[in-house]
């Protein structure tokens, strides 16, 4: 490392040129494929990924299951358009509003275009809007009718209210399409893929802009949230990163008063960010919510070591008045601690590679890479830059006079000097305070609530949050979770066995032929039916034909038994589960197969309320469902079950997308199943985005804990190696341990949710906070050796070394604050807590470490001298 600095001092121009060429190459490497993808197909373009699903890797079982079932039950990602009218006493159920809603619904159907892989846009057939859903109702004289709920906009107030009355009478639409209070409506617009939601929403907004009237339109839904997130992410990167740069520049100017000189750390920061982000994009990684924070992280870290060099250079230059000699002095003193602080920081971030969450892995690995790059550019470019400056321009640079630790002149120096004396005199008090703090933190940690909600990543005033609040107040909930119930045992084998038994009673030649063929079908009922049809076509006579017919009927009958969710007792079981879900208080509403059966049954029996029930026999259920399938949307049935009725899905609407609520629901449902065995042993499995969020959170919590413990051990080992002493190694871990305990204690005490950004903090603070301890202890040990006793040494330690640490705390701690201006909550959280961690770690280092050294002085210095 020192060799590198030596080389840089010898050939400064080469190093500067290399850095410039490297930066330009990386910029081109990102820009070329992004703007001219056709010309450079071998390079990966910049691509943004805002999908929270990607918190889990694509081959994660829960995601595979989720995508599989989405396809199986034809479920799509949806844009939700809520329409609210607060001035009309009838809410939106007036002719004017409904005309607009009708127009919007009809307009939405036409939003589609030819994409690269076939048509993209709105899935017409699956839109839930008043003109696109069926009403089943009485049509006089014992006639039942299927009709579009609102085939044309109503002309009168009364007809408008009628739309509400009809919809609220249908369980599927009540509190979903029309609000419980009868004032609002929500349209659900399914789209081919999440990543086109912005385009679709833009077209909808254009249409909405043409409407007159006093309706408020809220466009929301998870796909919208994600797309918006992407836009805000760019704002974050475009605003926060330059702002951080500016702030760091300003702070350094305050400390060093030489624009020319402080340009050096800025170059280091710039080149490190370009290198890291370039490497990220060119290796084909997407820019995710996590990786978008990389520049803001790299910048302060990159500046950190450069500040040490400048700080030292600033103090030492007046002594030599020679660039080369000063640099040599500075680099000899700092190259080792700089290497170690860089290694520990890299280890802290690198530990994130062991979390099970891909975006966090990428984040950790590339920050570690960036830290390494920053170290390299610091030890080469800063010396090179200084060498390229003329000696004249350094005139008057540095501390005007050599500051004496015993007679401090600046306020900062005075405060530090007092601190040093205090820790020596009141070491026991400091330790007592520390122990109290740890106790309180422990209590706070026990109060920590693990929770997250991607919608809450937006600040409370964001339109998406407002829409979320408004719609969840009025409707049964905009957060969807799906629960699939399926028989535990292998149904194909059971069917084949039952069939064999049933046919063995038949002694016709056809039955014997069929029995022989049976193994060929492998339990596939359609294959059996096709075989029988083929036999019937070539049947010699009526007798043979009907013998085959009987067999077909038998196959059908036996198969029917395995159509579990046509069984009344199974439907009653699902009904019971639905009632239970409502009682948990977590669920606004659930839609399931029993609702369809009961509604159609009611309308078949004159629309009377007492007919709103599941009929007694399987045939009656089947015939009720057959009736339902004469509607405009017969395929809606397959959102709730499969054509073989062997499985069923409950649509569950939650008013809250908080993971803690979903987790509670998962637990409650587990309890239900363990206490209420179904008539046929069932497996239950969740899917839907609300559930996926819970899964990745669980993985994150345990994964982060492991990553943290792992990196804690790694850093400890590095410290023991650095100080060549177990005791000193352990000592160096104390400030950061107290810091982390304190920060998480506060999070628990103030009731801030332990979410994704908070989880990431532990590893980050580990890598950053240990830096101060390294610098402090290294200087302390050296000073104690020099002065002979700790009492004498403490004064000089609280001189230049303490000042360097304090300058660093201020520059780096402040460097993260631009994240507070980001529009998205996770960035704010990270910005706030990282600044808090650095500040507290600085304080902890300057108070706790000297107090501990004071108390254990004999032990520490004896043990240190022993190996020597």
């Amino acid at each position: 490392m020192f060799i590198l600095s030596e080389l840089a001092v010898a050939k400064p121009k080469i190093f500067m040129r290399l850095a410039i060429i490297l930066s330009l190459l990386f910029i081109a490497g990102v820009a070329a494929p992004t703007f001219f993808p056709k010309q450079v197909p071998f390079l990966a373009p910049l691509s943004i990924d805002t999908d929270p699903e990607n918190m889990l890797s694509a081959d994660e079982p829960v995601r595979i299951f989720h995508n599989d079932r989405k396809k199986e039950y034809s479920l799509y990602d949806m844009i939700v358009v809520g329409v609210v009218n607060k001035s009309n006493p009838q809410g939106v159920f007036n002719p004017q509003s409904l005309q607009n809603i009708y127009d919007l619904g009809e307009y939405a159907r036409q939003i589609s275009w030819q994409g690269d892989n076939g048509p993209e846009g709105v899935i017409q057939a699956e839109i839930i809007s008043p003109s696109n859903v069926d009403n089943i109702a009485q049509a006089g004289e014992g006639t039942v009718r299927f009709e579009w709920l609102m085939s044309s906009p109503p002309a009168t107030e009364e007809a408008a209210l009628d739309v509400y009355r009809k919809a609220s009478h249908l369980p599927f639409l009540d509190n979903t399409l029309v609000s419980g209070d009868g004032k609002a409506m929500a349209l659900y617009i399914p789209i081919t893929a999440k990543n086109i939601s912005y385009q679709v929403a833009a077209q909808l907004k254009e249409k909405i802009a043409t409407f007159s009237g006093d309706d408020t339109y809220h466009i929301t839904g998870l796909p919208i949230a994600q797309d918006t997130f992407g836009v805000e992410m760019f704002i974050q990167m475009a605003v926060s990163a330059p702002l951080a740069m500016l702030l760091i520049f300003a702070l350094m100017w305050v400390f060093f008063r030489s624009v020319k000189l402080i340009i050096a750390p800025m170059i280091v920061a710039m080149v490190s960010v370009i290198f890291t982000m370039g490497a990220l994009v060119m290796t084909g990684h997407t820019v995710h919510i996590m990786s978008s924070m990389i520049p803001v992280f790299i910048m302060p870290i990159a500046v950190l070591d450069a500040v040490h060099i400048l700080s030292d250079f600033f103090d030492v230059y007046p002594r030599y008045k020679d660039r080369r000699k000063t640099i040599r002095h500075v680099m000899e003193e700092l190259s080792k601690p700089m290497l170690f602080t860089s290694l520990t920081t890299a280890a802290g971030f690198g530990s994130l590679a062991f979390t099970p969450i891909p975006p966090v892995q990428v984040f950790g690995i590339f920050i570690a890479l960036g830290v390494a790059a920053a170290w390299f550019f610091t030890v080469t470019l800063v010396p090179a830059y200084i060498m390229l400056m003329s000696e004249k321009s350094l005139d008057g640079f540095g501390m005007a006079h050599h500051e004496d630790a015993a007679h401090p002149t600046t306020p900062l120096a005075r405060i530090l000097y007092a601190t040093g004396r205090f820790t020596y005199a009141r070491a026991k008090l400091v330790l007592l305070l520390m122990l109290v703090l740890i106790g309180v933190s422990g209590y706070g940690i026990s109060k920590i609530q693990i929770n997250d909600n991607p919608v809450k990543w937006f600040s409370a005033s964001h339109p998406i949050r407002i829409a979320d609040k408004e719609l969840n107040q009025r409707f049964a909930g905009t957060y969807m979770a799906y629960l699939e119930l399926a028989p535990k045992d292998d149904q194909t084998a059971a069917f084949a066995a039952s069939l064999t038994q049933a046919i063995s009673g038949h002694n016709t030649p056809q039955a014997r032929v069929f029995m022989q063929e049976l193994p060929v079908f492998k339990g596939d009922v359609n294959a059996m039916k096709d075989f029988i049809s083929a036999q019937q076509e070539t049947a010699a006579d009526d007798e043979a034909y009907y013998a085959w017919d009987d067999l077909a009927a038998l196959v059908d009958e036996v198969y029917g038994h395995f159509e579990w969710f046509k069984h009344p007792d199974m439907l009653h079981y699902v009904e019971k589960l639905q009632e239970y879900l409502l009682q948990t208080g977590l669920v606004g509403k659930s839609n399931a197969l029993p609702d369809v059966v009961k509604t159609v049954h009611r309308e078949l029996f004159l629309g009377k309320d007492d007919a709103f029930r599941i009929p007694e026999t399987q045939n009656a259920v089947a015939q009720t469902l057959l009736t339902y399938q004469n509607s405009h949307r017969p395929n809606d049935l397959w959102h709730f079950t499969t054509p073989s009725y062997d499985k069923t899905v409950l649509w569950i609407q939650l008013k809250s997308g908080d993971n803690k609520d979903m987790s509670k629901l998962v637990e409650a449902v587990d309890t239900f199943f363990s206490k209420n065995p179904a008539p046929v042993a069932l497996d239950h499995q969740w899917f839907g985005l609300t559930y996926i969020n819970v899964v990745w959170q669980q993985k994150m919590v345990s994964g982060m804990m492991e990553a943290f413990l792992g990196s804690f051990v790694i850093v400890l080992v590095m410290m023991i190696f650095l100080f060549r002493s177990i005791t000193w190694g352990i000592l160096s871990m104390v400030p950061l341990t107290v810091t982390i305990a304190f920060i998480y204690g506060i999070i628990g005490l103030i009731g801030k949710d332990y979410d994704m950004p908070v989880a990431v903090l532990s590893s980050l603070s580990l890598g950053l906070a240990v830096d101060y301890a390294i610098h402090f202890l290294a200087r302390s040990r050296e000073a104690a050796e020099r002065h002979g006793s700790w009492k004498d040494a403490i004064q000089s330690v609280f001189g230049e070394p303490a000042r360097a640490i304090t300058r660093n705390v201020i520059v780096i701690g402040m460097g993260f604050t631009p994240l507070l201006f980001a529009p998205l909550v996770p960035y704010k959280t990270v910005g706030f807590f990282i600044s808090a961690i650095l500040l507290f770690a600085g304080i902890a280092t300057l108070l706790i470490l000297p107090a501990l050294i004071t108390l254990f002085e004999k032990f520490l210095f004896k043990s240190k001298r022993r190996p020597a």
Binding site: K71, E72, R109, Q110, S112, I123, Q124, A125, A139, E141, G142, T143, V144, R145, F146, E147, W148, S151, S152, N526, K529, S533, Q536, E537, D542, Y545, Y546, D549, A552, A553, D556, E557, G560, E563, K566, H601, L604, F605, P615, T617, Q618, N619, A620, V621, A622, Q623, T624, L626, T627, Q629, N630, S631, H632, P634, N635, L637, W638, T642, P643, S644
Partner: protein, 264 residues
């Protein structure tokens, strides 16, 4: 033989009546196609196997017998009786339709397991027929007078017609195109287009057999191009002029199926 003879007879008659233009008028083509598709013979019966296959390849099968009787010979009033054999749990379910050219059809549904005869309002005939991709109207026939027809093209084998609804707000299509076989007048293909002018639904005759002299579609397919679902109807045991008495097309016979006519 009879069919060819009829065809010859028709063409010569036309030749005589309109010597200058050897072509048929659009409305004549439509009337003939309507006849060929729905009104052949005095009555008819067939056993039908319905295979509904969705975009995921999941197949559902229904088996039913369809009986049809024309009332009068002006290709207008008709009665249908659809008796379900399978799936086993809907066996004996019956749909009955009295098709009216002026005014809404009458439709009945008999659900044996609920012991219920129910009238189904038929104001909108473009709803699914028992969950298939065929609409009611595809099964019983859309009244030609509901659309205005134009001849788009005449090829060697087909008349290609474009039919536009007179009341566009009552249907989901903006127009449909039909390919009518010049010799048999069987519509072999029919394509529906939406308001964006995009084709979203397509019916086709996959097999045509001459039965008792009537060219008859014995296999018809309807595809929903948006959902990727399709339904195939396979007709067997087709019989024309079976002498079906009109009284079996009454409510009385819903609960008590006319056994001899619904057998093979």
């Amino acid at each position: 033989m009879k069919k060819i003879f009829t065809a010859l007879l028709f063409s010569s008659a036309l030749f005589l009546s309109a010597p200058a233009a050897h072509a048929l008028s659009v409305n004549e083509i439509v009337a003939k196609a309507n006849h060929a598709a729905y009104y052949q013979g005095e009555d008819g019966r067939a056993r039908v196997k319905m295979d509904i296959t969705d975009s995921q390849g999941r197949k559902r099968t229904r088996d039913f017998v369809i009986l049809r009787k024309d009332i009068g010979d002006d290709d207008k009033e008709q009665k249908f009786y659809v008796y379900f054999n399978r799936p086993a749990d809907v066996s004996k379910t019956v749909f009955m339709v009295w098709k009216h050219v002026n005014g809404d059809d009458d439709r009945w549904l008999y659900l044996p397991a609920l012991d219920l005869v129910k009238r189904i309002a038929a104001t909108d005939e473009r709803t699914s027929f028992v969950g298939s991709d065929f609409f009611y109207e595809d099964v019983s026939g859309r009244n030609p007078s509901e659309d205005t027809h134009e001849l788009l093209e005449e090829t060697d084998n087909y008349y290609i017609l474009k039919s536009t609804p007179k009341k566009p707000d009552q249907v989901e299509f903006s127009y449909f195109k039909s390919y009518i076989h010049k010799e048999t007048f069987i519509p072999v293909k029919i394509e529906f287009f939406d308001k964006n002018g995009e084709k979203y639904r397509e019916g086709s005759a996959e097999a045509v057999d001459t039965i008792q002299g009537h060219p008859t579609v014995t296999k018809g397919r309807m595809k929903d191009l948006r959902s990727g679902s399709e339904t195939v109807l396979s007709y067997s045991s087709v019989q024309y002029d079976a002498g079906l008495p009109e009284d079996i097309f009454t409510e009385r016979y819903l609960r008590q199926a006319p056994t001899e006519y619904i057998k093979r």
